[in-house]
Amino acid sequence: MIPITVNGQPLTVPPGTTVAAAVMRVQAGFRRSVTGESRGPLCGMGICMECRVTLNGHPHERSCQLLCAPGMEITTP
């Protein structure tokens, strides 16, 4: 199992889990739209950009295209 945190909350996920799947285990909203709406993944294939999160301090990472790695810190607004 891989230990990660989502907004500071510790979580372990099986190997091969995408960051998007890990976040959805905890919450539905991933980002705020330009008018402040809560948004989550739509396409699941790296095209719609709705699943962007901040990953280890890097903003705008497409969570559906990345696999969880040990110690990863995921934050959402």
């Binding site: 996920v13 889990t17 959805m24 809560s38 948004r39 095209i47 950009m49 295209q65 990345l66 696999l67």
Partner: protein
């Protein structure tokens, strides 16, 4: 020795890379996903196709290319960039519990537990059935599969499957026990529910919703290949209008595998597969006709409905505009990070506008990457 670059590691790209390697070409296969297999297989390539993973093929995944110097020199390029789902805007489609049909399946394949969740699958096309069957196998409760196509068309298509016993068996296995309802589509979504034409309000944890497929033509367009009616133009050998650039796939798996092999083998050996490809293309055309979108879907988008999710542009801001260019200039619709990949096909359906032209960078990139290009 011919050096071949294959872009996209789904069924078409894998078949193309394998066929080119079989022909003695030096092959590099690129994909921006973490695993090969494309959206349909996502790293779980069926046993009978694992031969495509020829050890002579150089594979690079999770790739972001910032300059040509990152790529190996190539004598020819085979594009197999696949397809995405068509999303049509309706009130509530931006809520976090509304995902694409393939989108939800992808995230469940990526490790989201779905057992016990109540799911409505809606939209159009054979993918709905495949997604519903997959989610059910993973323990989800599929409340309803709402297919927009009218019952007579679905019935006629199902009858036509007698000529394709393997497909009929597959459809029967997927659909067995599912509440599959033609003539139904989502009218609106609210937190925790969806309202379906003919079925009223249904409480659900997720609405998985897609209205068919859109070919990812952006890279081909950027390279100058001619695109017509949403498809990259190809000759019988899968050559595009640009010399040394081929395009394969973006239809059914059968068709993608054949197109990939034809592109990979080249004309001499590829010709033996032309008849099989013609049959696969004809089958795909039957699907397109059976699941053609009904005109009522155009009235789903209300003036308040957000059409451009990146820039939160409502439909009321868009309809006074005449074309893509004025929409972009006046409303910022299509100017966000998805670069019009989601709202473009939606507006093509709603307003009949052809897609806007493609400009680099193909995907948003960091300024530091652009700065590196100066060196």
């Amino acid at each position: 020795m011919t050096r071949t670059l294959v872009i996209g590691g789904g069924p078409a790209g894998l078949a193309a890379a394998w066929a080119a390697a079989q022909s003695g070409e030096t092959v590099t296969l690129l994909d921006d996903n973490p695993t090969l297999g494309g959206q349909i297989w996502r790293g779980r390539i069926p046993a009978r196709y694992r031969r495509f993973l020829d050890p002579r093929i150089t594979v690079q995944t999770v790739l972001q290319v910032h300059s040509a110097s990152q790529l190996p020199p190539a004598d020819r390029i085979i594009l197999a960039t696949g397809a995405r789902e068509l999303f049509l805007p309706f009130p509530g489609w931006t809520l976090p519990h509304v995902l694409g049909a393939g989108g939800l399946q992808a995230i469940v394949k990526g490790g989201l537990p779905i057992a016990g969740k109540r799911i409505v699958v809606a939209g159009s096309g054979p993918l709905l059935l495949a997604v519903a069957a997959y989610l059910r196998r993973r323990g989800a409760r599929i409340l309803l599969v709402a297919e927009q196509a009218p019952y007579p068309r679905i019935a006629a298509f199902t009858r036509s499957l007698w000529r394709h016993p393997a497909k009929l068996l597959e459809a029967a296995q997927l659909g067995f026990g599912l509440r599959y309802r033609p003539d139904s589509w989502p009218l609106r979504a609210d937190p925790g529910s969806v309202t379906l034409q003919g079925h009223g309000v249904i409480a659900c944890d997720y609405l998985a919703c897609g209205f068919g497929l859109v070919v990812n033509t952006e890279l081909a367009e950027l390279l100058g290949c001619q695109v017509e009616n949403g498809r990259v133009l190809t000759d019988p050998d899968q050559r595009t209008t640009v010399p040394h650039i081929f395009f394969a796939g973006a239809g059914s798996v059968d068709r993608s595998l054949l197109e990939g092999q034809i592109a990979g083998f080249g004309p001499a050996r590829g010709r033996a597969l032309h008849a099989a490809r013609a049959a696969a293309v004809a089958f795909d055309r039957g699907i397109d006709e059976a699941f053609a979108l009904r005109s009522e879907l155009k009235s789903l988008t209300t003036p308040e409905t957000i059409v451009c999710r990146c820039e939160d542009v409502p439909f009321s801001a868009i309809w006074p505009q005449r074309d893509w260019r004025s929409v972009k200039l006046q409303t910022r619709c299509g100017m966000g990070p998805c670069q019009g990949r989601i709202c473009g096909p939606a507006l093509a359906h709603l307003c009949g506008w052809p897609a806007a032209s493609v400009r680099p960078p193909l995907f948003p990139t960091r300024l530091e990457n652009l700065l590196d290009l100066r060196d």
